[in-house]
Symmetry: C2
Subunit: 220 residues, 2 copies
């Protein structure tokens, strides 16, 4: 367990019994995801942008074009809120009111820092590829100096992170359990469909093992 | 096609060729989703909150506890940004730099309005249930006066909505196509696993047809 009490903005206020603050829970939710939703505010106007990410130790790393508005704001130290959500099941209660969803989500607050050293950027790219598709980094043509210069990499400490989780069956009001209404859960699964070759793939290039083994469920 | 030019905050700036502004595209992406990410700013601090939603005509409807901070802010007319993302595939290029993902996303800007009339709230709940699991609303025990009073329902015009989409194979630099590196797509699918009965389900209550037929792919 994280020994510190969470900061006010990090503490789960709505249904606090669903909150979790231990690293293992938070990191496992992050490690399973591919897309995060990044929130920033510009003169009171909120923006939410979907981005890919990876966890590298106690940091979240993200990258994008150095010329994008988001990366410029993040590089300039804007306050950021990053959210990752996994939807696990529809939860059907007897009452409409108690219908719910099972989910695991993480929210991170903070200000990002720029990774500007080229070696550190390359290491971040490796972490990023290993998060998304282990093995791919070692096959791909590595970024050249121009590509490296065009790509901004930022990191965000996971110090101010919290998880919010709902699991299990519906929770109806006591007097509703007698109603002759089906109740239960409809779980989801994200699965990988068969790989599709690039139409421009050269002849004699086989699918690598990490592609053939790949399923979206392979994450820790 | 939406005949108007999009407002500045709605126009896709990064990779504008991926932007789409026609209702059919935007609505079909919204209709396929279950979770949106709602961004608000409170004194410069961004917050991103995952919420369920439905589209009702030209509006997005959302609901929550009337006592929650988010619903209070939305009811008070805070600027909001709502984002929905579907991740369709990993896109593996020959160069690390051109790796990408196929996705369909929608972003909506605006200020929400409260639906306070009880009949209109009930109609919104029906829309919401029909979006998530058609048929369920007609089985569930309907909200009573107390539950209705506890639940805040808000609507957000889809006037300022835009889509951003990437499809198709990787786009490598011309000189990289000769490299002996596999390239292609790893598509995802969200599927429904078998329904799970509530452990407290009364005997003799069968699964309704809409549960047995249900798959997460059933959406338009």
């Amino acid at each position: 367990m994280n020994p510190k009490l969470p900061a006010d903005r990090t503490r789960v206020k709505r249904l606090p019994e669903r909150g979790a603050y231990d690293k293992q829970t938070i990191y496992s939710i992050l490690d399973e995801g591919l897309v995060c939703h990044v929130g920033i505010a510009v003169e009171g106007q909120p923006f939410v942008i979907p981005m890919t990410y990876a966890r590298s130790g106690d940091k979240l790393i993200m990258h994008g074009s150095g010329g994008s508005r988001l990366m410029k704001l993040l590089k300039n130290g804007a306050e950021v809120c990053v959210e990752v959500t996994h939807l696990d099941a529809l939860v059907l209660a007897r009452s409409a009111f108690h219908h719910s969803m099972n989910y695991r989500s993480v929210v991170v607050f903070g200000r990002a820092s720029v990774i500007s050293d080229d070696d550190a950027k390359m290491a971040a790219f490796e972490d990023f590829f290993e998060h998304v598709l282990p093995g791919r980094w070692f096959d791909a043509r590595k970024p050249n100096a121009k590509e490296l210069a065009q790509t901004a990499v930022i990191e965000l400490s996971l110090e101010e992170a919290s998880a919010k989780i709902r699991t299990g069956p519906p929770a109806d009001d006591e007097e509703d359990y007698i109603l002759p209404i089906w109740a239960g859960m409809l779980p989801f699964e994200i699965t990988a469909k068969p790989a599709v070759d690039d139409p421009k793939l050269g002849s004699g290039i086989a699918r690598p093992d990490y592609v053939r083994r790949y399923t979206a469920k392979r994450r820790k």
